[in-house]
Protein backbone atom coordinates (compact mmCIF):
# COMPACT_ATOMS: atom_id res chain seq x y z
CA UNK A 1 0.00 0.00 0.00
CA UNK A 2 2.84 2.42 0.92
CA UNK A 3 6.27 2.28 -0.71
CA UNK A 4 9.08 3.83 1.27
CA UNK A 5 12.80 4.14 0.85
CA UNK A 6 14.16 3.02 4.24
CA UNK A 7 16.57 5.94 4.60
CA UNK A 8 13.76 8.49 4.24
CA UNK A 9 12.55 8.23 7.83
CA UNK A 10 13.58 11.13 10.06
CA UNK A 11 15.63 12.72 7.30
CA UNK A 12 15.03 16.48 7.33
CA UNK A 13 14.42 17.99 3.91
CA UNK A 14 14.56 21.75 3.27
CA UNK A 15 11.30 22.99 1.77
CA UNK A 16 12.42 26.53 0.96
CA UNK A 17 12.22 30.08 2.27
CA UNK A 18 8.98 31.97 2.57
CA UNK A 19 8.63 35.72 2.91
CA UNK A 20 5.46 36.49 4.89
CA UNK A 21 3.74 39.75 4.09
CA UNK A 22 0.93 41.59 5.85
CA UNK A 23 -1.15 40.94 2.72
CA UNK A 24 -0.55 37.17 3.02
CA UNK A 25 -1.74 37.29 6.62
CA UNK A 26 -4.75 39.44 5.73
CA UNK A 27 -5.72 37.08 2.88
CA UNK A 28 -5.57 34.07 5.19
CA UNK A 29 -7.39 35.76 8.09
CA UNK A 30 -10.17 37.08 5.87
CA UNK A 31 -10.53 33.73 4.09
CA UNK A 32 -11.27 32.00 7.39
CA UNK A 33 -13.37 34.89 8.70
CA UNK A 34 -10.98 35.69 11.55
CA UNK A 35 -10.91 39.47 11.88
CA UNK A 36 -8.81 39.64 15.05
CA UNK A 37 -7.10 43.07 14.88
CA UNK A 38 -3.75 41.52 15.82
CA UNK A 39 -3.74 39.96 12.34
CA UNK A 40 -5.05 42.94 10.40
CA UNK A 41 -4.24 46.19 12.14
CA UNK A 42 -0.64 47.31 12.64
CA UNK A 43 -1.63 49.79 15.36
CA UNK A 44 -3.58 47.15 17.30
CA UNK A 45 -0.60 44.78 17.09
CA UNK A 46 1.76 47.51 18.31
CA UNK A 47 -0.52 48.31 21.22
CA UNK A 48 -0.15 44.67 22.25
CA UNK A 49 3.63 44.97 22.09
CA UNK A 50 4.23 43.37 18.72
CA UNK A 51 6.39 45.13 16.14
CA UNK A 52 3.89 44.38 13.37
CA UNK A 53 0.85 42.24 12.64
CA UNK A 54 1.11 38.59 13.57
CA UNK A 55 -0.36 35.57 11.79
CA UNK A 56 -3.31 33.45 12.97
CA UNK A 57 -2.26 30.18 14.65
CA UNK A 58 -2.89 27.95 11.65
CA UNK A 59 -1.29 30.31 9.12
CA UNK A 60 1.57 27.82 8.72
CA UNK A 61 -0.87 25.92 6.49
CA UNK A 62 -0.22 28.72 3.99
CA UNK A 63 3.49 27.89 4.17
CA UNK A 64 2.81 24.17 3.99
CA UNK A 65 0.52 24.47 0.97
CA UNK A 66 0.77 21.21 -0.89
CA UNK A 67 4.31 20.49 0.24
CA UNK A 68 3.53 17.02 1.46
CA UNK A 69 7.22 16.29 1.62
CA UNK A 70 9.09 14.08 1.84
CA UNK A 71 7.05 12.27 -0.77
CA UNK A 72 5.74 8.80 -0.04
CA UNK A 73 4.53 6.58 -2.87
CA UNK A 74 1.03 5.30 -2.35
CA UNK A 75 0.14 2.35 -4.59
CA UNK A 76 -2.57 2.84 -7.21
CA UNK A 77 -6.03 2.09 -5.83
CA UNK A 78 -5.46 3.80 -2.51
CA UNK A 79 -6.18 7.34 -1.43
CA UNK A 80 -5.09 9.53 1.47
CA UNK A 81 -7.11 11.35 4.10
CA UNK A 82 -6.14 13.78 6.84
CA UNK A 83 -6.43 11.98 10.16
CA UNK A 84 -5.08 14.63 12.49
CA UNK A 85 -2.76 17.54 13.13
CA UNK A 86 -0.67 18.92 15.93
CA UNK A 87 0.78 22.39 16.15
CA UNK A 88 3.56 23.28 18.61
CA UNK A 89 4.07 27.02 18.94
CA UNK A 90 7.29 28.65 20.11
CA UNK A 91 6.78 32.17 18.75
CA UNK A 92 4.49 34.17 16.49
CA UNK A 93 4.85 34.44 12.72
CA UNK A 94 5.36 38.13 11.90
CA UNK A 95 4.62 40.06 8.74
CA UNK A 96 7.78 41.23 6.98
CA UNK A 97 9.88 38.27 8.08
CA UNK A 98 11.29 35.43 6.00
CA UNK A 99 10.96 31.90 7.33
CA UNK A 100 12.49 28.60 6.32
CA UNK A 101 10.55 25.34 6.34
CA UNK A 102 11.88 21.82 6.76
CA UNK A 103 9.98 18.59 6.24
CA UNK A 104 10.52 15.21 7.82
CA UNK A 105 8.88 11.83 7.54
CA UNK A 106 8.40 10.70 11.13
CA UNK A 107 6.50 7.45 10.93
CA UNK A 108 5.00 5.14 8.29
CA UNK A 109 3.12 1.96 9.02
CA UNK A 110 0.28 -0.25 7.86
CA UNK A 111 -2.37 -1.98 9.92
CA UNK A 112 -5.78 -3.58 9.58
CA UNK A 113 -8.64 -1.42 10.75
CA UNK A 114 -12.37 -2.11 11.10
CA UNK A 115 -12.90 -1.30 7.43
CA UNK A 116 -9.91 -3.21 6.14
CA UNK A 117 -6.23 -2.45 5.57
CA UNK A 118 -5.03 1.08 6.09
CA UNK A 119 -1.76 2.91 6.24
CA UNK A 120 -0.62 5.79 8.38
CA UNK A 121 1.91 8.44 7.38
CA UNK A 122 3.17 10.97 9.93
CA UNK A 123 5.03 14.00 8.62
CA UNK A 124 6.47 17.00 10.39
CA UNK A 125 7.17 20.51 9.13
CA UNK A 126 9.32 22.90 11.17
CA UNK A 127 9.17 26.61 10.45
CA UNK A 128 12.26 28.56 11.50
CA UNK A 129 12.93 32.28 11.56
CA UNK A 130 15.96 34.02 10.04
CA UNK A 131 18.04 33.28 13.16
CA UNK A 132 17.30 29.56 12.88
CA UNK A 133 14.96 29.55 15.87
CA UNK A 134 11.98 27.20 15.54
CA UNK A 135 8.73 29.15 15.49
CA UNK A 136 6.19 26.42 14.90
CA UNK A 137 6.18 22.68 14.33
CA UNK A 138 3.30 21.15 12.39
CA UNK A 139 2.81 17.40 12.69
CA UNK A 140 0.29 15.78 10.34
CA UNK A 141 -1.16 12.29 10.38
CA UNK A 142 -2.49 10.95 7.08
CA UNK A 143 -4.46 7.79 6.61
CA UNK A 144 -4.10 5.72 3.43
CA UNK A 145 -7.11 3.62 2.50
CA UNK A 146 -9.11 2.21 -0.37
CA UNK A 147 -11.44 4.75 -2.01
CA UNK A 148 -14.03 1.96 -2.46
CA UNK A 149 -15.51 2.73 0.94
CA UNK A 150 -17.54 5.87 0.24
CA UNK A 151 -17.74 8.49 2.97
Amino acid sequence: MIKLEPDMLNKEVPLGEFAVTADDIREFAEAVGDLNPLYLDMEAARQEGYPTVIAPPTFCMHIRGQRLLPEVIVEPGFTTLHAGQEFEYYDEIYAGQTYSAFGKLVEVYEKTGRSGPLGVIVREMSVKDATGKTVVVLRERQMVRSPEKKI
Binding site: A31, P51, G84, F87
Partner: protein, 147 residues
Protein backbone atom coordinates in the same frame (compact mmCIF):
# COMPACT_ATOMS: atom_id res chain seq x y z
CA UNK B 1 -8.98 51.66 18.77
CA UNK B 2 -9.79 49.88 22.02
CA UNK B 3 -6.98 48.03 23.74
CA UNK B 4 -7.43 44.30 24.15
CA UNK B 5 -8.22 43.49 27.79
CA UNK B 6 -6.49 40.21 28.69
CA UNK B 7 -8.49 37.57 30.48
CA UNK B 8 -7.06 37.19 33.98
CA UNK B 9 -5.73 33.78 34.97
CA UNK B 10 -7.73 34.09 38.21
CA UNK B 11 -10.93 34.54 36.23
CA UNK B 12 -10.43 31.22 34.42
CA UNK B 13 -11.76 28.11 36.14
CA UNK B 14 -11.71 24.42 35.32
CA UNK B 15 -15.01 23.58 33.65
CA UNK B 16 -15.40 27.02 32.03
CA UNK B 17 -17.15 26.67 28.70
CA UNK B 18 -15.89 28.02 25.38
CA UNK B 19 -18.64 28.70 22.85
CA UNK B 20 -20.73 27.21 21.44
CA UNK B 21 -20.10 28.98 18.15
CA UNK B 22 -21.75 28.02 14.86
CA UNK B 23 -19.82 27.97 11.57
CA UNK B 24 -21.07 27.04 8.12
CA UNK B 25 -18.18 26.30 5.74
CA UNK B 26 -19.88 26.89 2.39
CA UNK B 27 -18.26 26.12 -0.97
CA UNK B 28 -17.31 29.79 -1.22
CA UNK B 29 -15.52 29.61 2.15
CA UNK B 30 -13.68 26.45 1.08
CA UNK B 31 -12.57 28.01 -2.21
CA UNK B 32 -11.28 31.13 -0.40
CA UNK B 33 -9.46 28.97 2.14
CA UNK B 34 -7.94 26.72 -0.53
CA UNK B 35 -6.54 29.80 -2.25
CA UNK B 36 -5.17 31.31 0.97
CA UNK B 37 -3.67 28.00 2.13
CA UNK B 38 -2.30 27.23 -1.36
CA UNK B 39 -4.24 23.95 -1.55
CA UNK B 40 -4.37 22.48 -5.02
CA UNK B 41 -6.08 19.16 -4.20
CA UNK B 42 -9.28 19.32 -6.24
CA UNK B 43 -11.20 16.81 -4.10
CA UNK B 44 -12.07 19.71 -1.79
CA UNK B 45 -13.78 21.54 -4.64
CA UNK B 46 -14.52 19.25 -7.59
CA UNK B 47 -17.36 16.69 -7.14
CA UNK B 48 -15.88 14.27 -9.69
CA UNK B 49 -12.44 14.31 -8.07
CA UNK B 50 -14.11 13.87 -4.68
CA UNK B 51 -15.93 10.75 -5.92
CA UNK B 52 -12.71 9.31 -7.35
CA UNK B 53 -11.10 9.58 -3.93
CA UNK B 54 -13.93 7.96 -2.02
CA UNK B 55 -16.16 10.86 -1.06
CA UNK B 56 -19.78 11.26 -2.08
CA UNK B 57 -19.19 15.00 -2.52
CA UNK B 58 -16.42 17.56 -1.93
CA UNK B 59 -15.34 17.85 1.68
CA UNK B 60 -14.09 20.71 3.78
CA UNK B 61 -10.32 20.53 4.43
CA UNK B 62 -9.80 19.38 8.01
CA UNK B 63 -7.30 22.18 8.68
CA UNK B 64 -10.00 24.76 7.90
CA UNK B 65 -12.26 23.29 10.58
CA UNK B 66 -9.28 23.20 12.94
CA UNK B 67 -8.70 26.86 12.13
CA UNK B 68 -12.24 27.64 13.26
CA UNK B 69 -11.51 25.90 16.56
CA UNK B 70 -8.29 27.83 17.10
CA UNK B 71 -10.19 31.03 16.39
CA UNK B 72 -12.92 30.44 19.00
CA UNK B 73 -10.30 29.58 21.62
CA UNK B 74 -8.19 32.69 20.92
CA UNK B 75 -11.33 34.86 20.92
CA UNK B 76 -12.38 33.38 24.27
CA UNK B 77 -9.01 34.02 25.93
CA UNK B 78 -7.82 37.52 24.98
CA UNK B 79 -4.20 38.04 26.03
CA UNK B 80 -3.43 34.33 25.66
CA UNK B 81 -1.78 32.43 22.84
CA UNK B 82 -1.72 28.82 21.72
CA UNK B 83 1.25 26.76 22.86
CA UNK B 84 0.00 23.43 21.59
CA UNK B 85 -3.04 22.49 19.51
CA UNK B 86 -3.91 18.89 18.58
CA UNK B 87 -6.88 17.67 16.60
CA UNK B 88 -8.14 14.35 15.31
CA UNK B 89 -10.41 14.39 12.27
CA UNK B 90 -13.19 11.89 12.95
CA UNK B 91 -15.93 12.54 10.39
CA UNK B 92 -15.50 14.37 7.06
CA UNK B 93 -17.31 17.72 6.90
CA UNK B 94 -19.30 18.45 3.76
CA UNK B 95 -19.72 21.86 2.20
CA UNK B 96 -22.60 23.69 3.85
CA UNK B 97 -22.66 21.54 6.99
CA UNK B 98 -23.64 23.46 10.11
CA UNK B 99 -20.87 23.04 12.63
CA UNK B 100 -21.14 23.62 16.34
CA UNK B 101 -17.82 24.34 18.00
CA UNK B 102 -17.22 24.37 21.69
CA UNK B 103 -14.79 23.47 24.40
CA UNK B 104 -14.13 23.59 28.08
CA UNK B 105 -11.23 24.24 30.42
CA UNK B 106 -9.87 20.98 31.81
CA UNK B 107 -6.78 22.12 33.72
CA UNK B 108 -4.86 25.21 34.77
CA UNK B 109 -1.39 25.36 36.23
CA UNK B 110 1.58 27.64 36.83
CA UNK B 111 1.63 31.29 37.74
CA UNK B 112 0.60 34.29 35.67
CA UNK B 113 3.22 36.55 37.28
CA UNK B 114 6.22 34.55 36.06
CA UNK B 115 4.71 33.63 32.68
CA UNK B 116 4.40 29.95 33.54
CA UNK B 117 0.60 29.94 33.57
CA UNK B 118 -1.02 27.40 31.27
CA UNK B 119 -4.63 26.60 30.49
CA UNK B 120 -5.64 23.23 29.05
CA UNK B 121 -8.89 22.81 27.12
CA UNK B 122 -10.77 20.10 25.29
CA UNK B 123 -12.37 21.22 22.03
CA UNK B 124 -15.00 19.68 19.78
CA UNK B 125 -16.54 20.27 16.35
CA UNK B 126 -19.88 18.57 15.82
CA UNK B 127 -22.00 18.56 12.66
CA UNK B 128 -25.76 19.10 12.43
CA UNK B 129 -26.35 15.36 12.88
CA UNK B 130 -24.50 15.31 16.17
CA UNK B 131 -21.48 13.51 14.69
CA UNK B 132 -18.16 14.62 16.09
CA UNK B 133 -16.08 15.85 13.17
CA UNK B 134 -13.10 16.93 15.27
CA UNK B 135 -11.98 16.36 18.82
CA UNK B 136 -8.89 18.02 20.16
CA UNK B 137 -6.93 19.63 22.93
CA UNK B 138 -5.42 23.07 23.34
CA UNK B 139 -2.77 24.39 25.70
CA UNK B 140 -2.56 28.16 26.09
CA UNK B 141 -0.02 30.44 27.73
CA UNK B 142 0.13 34.20 28.23
CA UNK B 143 1.11 36.18 25.14
CA UNK B 144 4.82 36.95 25.14
CA UNK B 145 5.13 40.58 24.20
CA UNK B 146 7.86 41.25 21.68
CA UNK B 147 8.83 44.63 23.20
Amino acid sequence: MSKIIPKSFDDIDIGDEIGPVTKVPTSEVVIRYAKAARITDQRFIDPERARQTGFSQPIVPGPLNATFLAQIVIDHFPGWRLKNFQVSFRTPVKHGDTLNLWGNVTEKSGDETDGSATIHCDVVVENQHGDRAIVGTVILGPRRRAL
